[in-house]
Each structure stands twice: as C-alpha cells, then as structure tokens.
C-alpha cells in the first residue's frame, strides 16, 4: 500500500513509521507529485487539499489531516468521494489551553505595560495587578479544548460557565448556559473565550451588542475561527473601549493584512494563529495517525478522530 505524506517529518519519525508498518510504502513528496494518483492515504496539514488535488487523487480512500480544522477544504467534493477523513483533534488542547491561560494571566498582570516600562527603564509599581482567582469566565464551545481551558481556570479559582446550543453539561464547567441566556450572562463575566468552530450557526454570531453587554474590565479572546466576529465590529469595540482587552489568534483573512488597524490598537493582542502550535505537535499527531493506520490495516470500522466532513468537525 502507498501513502503520500506532505507533512515534513524528521528522519527518526520516518524510520519509526517504516519499521512499524513494513507492508506500507511511505512517499514524502508534495501534493502535486504523481504519487498522489496512486496513493491510498494522504497525510497532510490540510493547506494543500485543493479541488484539483481531490480530483487527481483517484485511488485515495483515507485523508489524514494532521491539524484540527477542515473548513478551508472543498468539503462537498470530498464528501462525494466518501473518503474516510480523520484529523488530529485533541493534540491542540494542551498547547491551546496553555496559550489562552498565558494571555489571560499576562493581561491580568499588565505584561504589555511591564515590558514597555522595561524598554524605557521605568520602575513603576502602579501597573494594576488583577487576580483571576474569584473571577468568572464564559467559555463558548466547551468541547475538548474548552474543557481543558476550564480545568486550568478552575485550578486558578475561576468560576467557569460553558455555552453550547443544548445547554447539556460539559467537563470542567461549573455551570452551563444556552443561547437564550447569553445576553444575561455577559455582564457577569470577567472573560469571554471563544473556541467555537466555524459553522453556519457561529458565522458572525458575535456582534457589537455582545461587546456592549460585557464589563468594561473584561477581556475577550477568540481562539476559534476568524469568521466568528467581523474585524470592523472588534475595532469598534476597541475604539469605544467596551472591554479592557481583546486577544485574537484567528482572523477573517490570514495572515492579517498589514494595513489592519488591529495591529496598532494597544488594547488588542494579535497572535498570528499560533496558539495550537507546539514543540510536541508532530510527535502527537503521528501517534494518532499510527493508531489509525493499525486499525485501517486490520480493516476496523472505528477510527480515532473521524470527521464528518460536512458538519465541519
């Protein structure tokens, strides 16, 4: 069996794969390579899965995406082919949760100001030091990643409120709310953290009225998808100082264009879609791939992280 791998892998990982799966031939090439047409499996970060790649992959049966999102894919075309699609969901939860806590804590302790003061050799002990202990956080999309954020926030003594459509309990949430409770909850929380995927329901869900309902001292983090809120809405909230700070790890268009005002707003942190990255990323996603490849070769029917391509997650 032939497998095309477009993810760059270190030599020791390639050797491990070759030894673990002696009946498989791994081809380490780009998606344009002729092996695309002959391979049964494609291992990719996802950015190279274009319509033409889907058309040319005539023998493909399994698309392994070594990241979590599939929303830039030609979804319907892939769905027609009835490929098995799996992703690396879950490997993001640790780096993303660490990254979100890092931002929440850094802003509570005034790091942008402290770093600036250091550059100017200013010793200023009046930089506000806010405790997150005793605060309330609203987590929009308390799935795998959101629950990990919730677990860490709870360790810091933060009260966690999860938001989903059903209102059914999620791990590490002190309470749950449904969409009709959102506006009443916003004035009570010190941070709003979105990890919602991009779906028709979440697209541009977040409006100016939501920022207006939040405390002026609260912070807003979008670590889900860039189309959760329009850039112009964020900018209006920042100009009006409706919230204390906004952290964006995702944007409507990436990379963020150079003339965006977001770069220069001091109450906004531009994180270049980096929170899911980790020095442990490739080893962990390859572990998931190896487990699934064993099951695939054994012709099992259940896979780790099988994705319903049309639902988008």
């Amino acid at each position: 069996m032939d497998i095309l791998v477009t993810v760059p892998l270190k030599e020791h990982i390639r050797e491990d794969l070759a030894q673990t799966f002696p009946t498989v031939t791994f081809h380490y090439e780009e998606a344009e390579h002729e092996w695309l047409e002959k391979s049964e499996v494609l291992v990719t970060y996802g950015n190279d899965v274009t319509e033409s790649v889907v058309d040319r992959a005539k023998n493909l049966k399994w698309l392994m995406v070594a990241s979590a999102g599939v929303d830039n894919f030609p979804l319907e075309k892939i769905a027609e082919r009835k490929w098995l699609v799996t992703n690396a969901k879950g490997i993001h939860k640790i780096p993303m949760a660490e990254s979100m806590l890092a931002h929440i804590l850094a802003l509570s302790k005034g790091f942008p100001q402290i770093y600036d003061n250091e550059r100017q050799k200013v010793w200023d002990r009046r930089v506000p030091q806010i405790e997150i202990s005793g605060q309330k956080a609203l987590i929009l999309g308390p799935g795998t990643i959101g629950s990990e954020v919730g677990r860490l926030l709870q360790a810091f003594g933060v009260h966690t409120i999860g938001y989903n459509r059903s209102g059914k309990p999620s791990l590490n949430m002190d309470e749950m709310i449904q969409p009709d409770q959102l506006m009443d909850t916003l004035p009570k929380v010190d941070s709003v953290i979105s990890i919602l995927p991009s779906t028709p329901e979440t697209r541009y869900l977040w409006q100016l009225e939501h920022f207006e309902a939040m405390k002026e001292s609260a912070i807003f983090l979008n670590f889900g998808r860039g189309d959760f809120v329009k850039e112009e809405v964020v900018l209006e909230a920042l100009h009006k100082k409706l919230v204390r700070h906004v952290v964006l790890d995702v944007f409507e268009k990436e990379p963020l264009r150079e003339d965006s005002e977001l770069w220069t707003m001091t109450n906004c942190t531009v994180s270049p879609h980096i929170s899911s990255l980790s020095n442990q990323y490739i080893p962990r996603s390859i572990d998931i791939f190896k487990e699934n490849l064993k099951r695939y070769l054994d012709e099992e029917k259940e896979y780790v992280n099988e994705v319903d391509i049309l639902r988008g997650y």
Copy 2:
C-alpha cells in the same frame, strides 16, 4: 485603645473597622505623627519602621505589618522591645503564584517576541511555542507561596521538585531534594523558581555555577529576595546565555537603578517588585488584622501570622 494606621485605607474599610471595634480609636496618620507615641498598635506596610520610629513608639505593644517581609526592619531593636509582631503572610500566595505562572507561560509562548512583532506589524508563525506540560520545575523554598505555585504547575502537568534544608515533604511537590542534591538536579529541570526568604543561609546562595549547571533552554525566576544572587552574577549568566531567560521581581537595591544593564538585556524581564500586589491585597490583609485584633482585645495568646522577628519570617 489607640491604633495608628499608616496604611492608606478606603473610607468603607475605615467605617467597617470603627463599627466592628467600637472601643478602639483608629488614627489614620503617617508614622511621624504624635499619635505614634501614644498608640498601642501600629498598622504599617513596613517601609516607615525606622530606628527613630521604634524609639519614639513608647507605648507600642503590637506591630502589624500589612506585607510579608520584615527584613528591612531594625530587627534587634524591635526584638528588645518584645513587641508582638504579625504580618500578612499568606495573602501573597495567590497573586504571587498567578504572577509566576504568568511569566512562565508568557515566556513559553514567546510573548515578548509576539508583542514586538505586533508593534512592527509582523505576522510570524515561527515564534517557538513551548509546552510546559511534561516539564520539570525546581521550587526553592516550597512554603506557603511555593506550594501554591506547585499546585498550579501540577495542574499544567509539570513535575514539581521542592528544595529545602531538611528535605522533608512539602505540599504539592512531586519530590523533595536537600542542598547536597542541588547540583545534580539543576541539569534536569526546565525552570528554577526561588521564593526563599532572606536569611544568612540564603544570602548570595545562588552562584554562577548554578546557572552553569542549568539547561540552556531553562528559565530562572527570583521572586524571593534580592540578595539571593548578585546582579553581576545574573548579568554574566545572561551574557553567556547560560539559560534562556531570567525573570527578576526582587533586586539587591530597589528601585533598580537606571544604569543597570538588566533593563536592556532581552533575555531578562524586570518586574518592579510587583508580583505580590493585588487588587485584593488590602481587603485580605485587613481581614487578618481584624481577626488578630479580636484576639488581642480578648487577651488571647495565639495570633495569625505571628513573626519571630530575629528569624526574619
């Protein structure tokens, strides 16, 4: 009974004290005020407790220090007077632990670089993103504050190693080491966090050889006392890049003088002795004071946070 309070307190706290203790007269003045000579209790942050203040406080019986350190005091002079001395130890643990985690996480996620890139409108996803999950941390002085740091680090999946003279178990430490195991432990850890108090044993304990024994990828945080390590030793370690980053919240002389090279080293964060500050600081230390004042008026013998002034903590 008269009490001189040199800590600035908001009106609602003053009213609460007056109502709770109707037999007490609270004087809100500076330490130089004549009420110093008549007062039985002095409530102070500690910075105004000079030799002359001790000499003039002829009727004083109880010194309530609304902070944790007493090491800049005229200790022997105070000891001679046999005053009851209490402090606000314990109220620091939450803000300090949050602050230390904030620094550890911010450095792991490259925030100094990310903030710089934002200023220059640079979208760079190659800023290294390090996971702290799975790392090892060495906590020097795992007392009240160190154990709280340990608890939070463990929540992030960090293996915690506590260091004290006896090697006896401390809360939230996965293992304990004694002084003779220090040099063998340093090469194994990803962070060294000192919260040691200033005592004859800890004064300039940390030498260049300790930095040399650490991993080049590790970080060093001093949140204990400034005389734990000489500035020139830190600077040599920074110039030689013996460790990845140093965070200092305490200094040999504070404020840090403007011509110190520490300000300009990009692998050093100067935190202006701010980590113990908190928007919850005064309410919490007043709670301790109120509890002790009740006991004092009832002529009890046990107090919260009684300090052995000559031991220094």
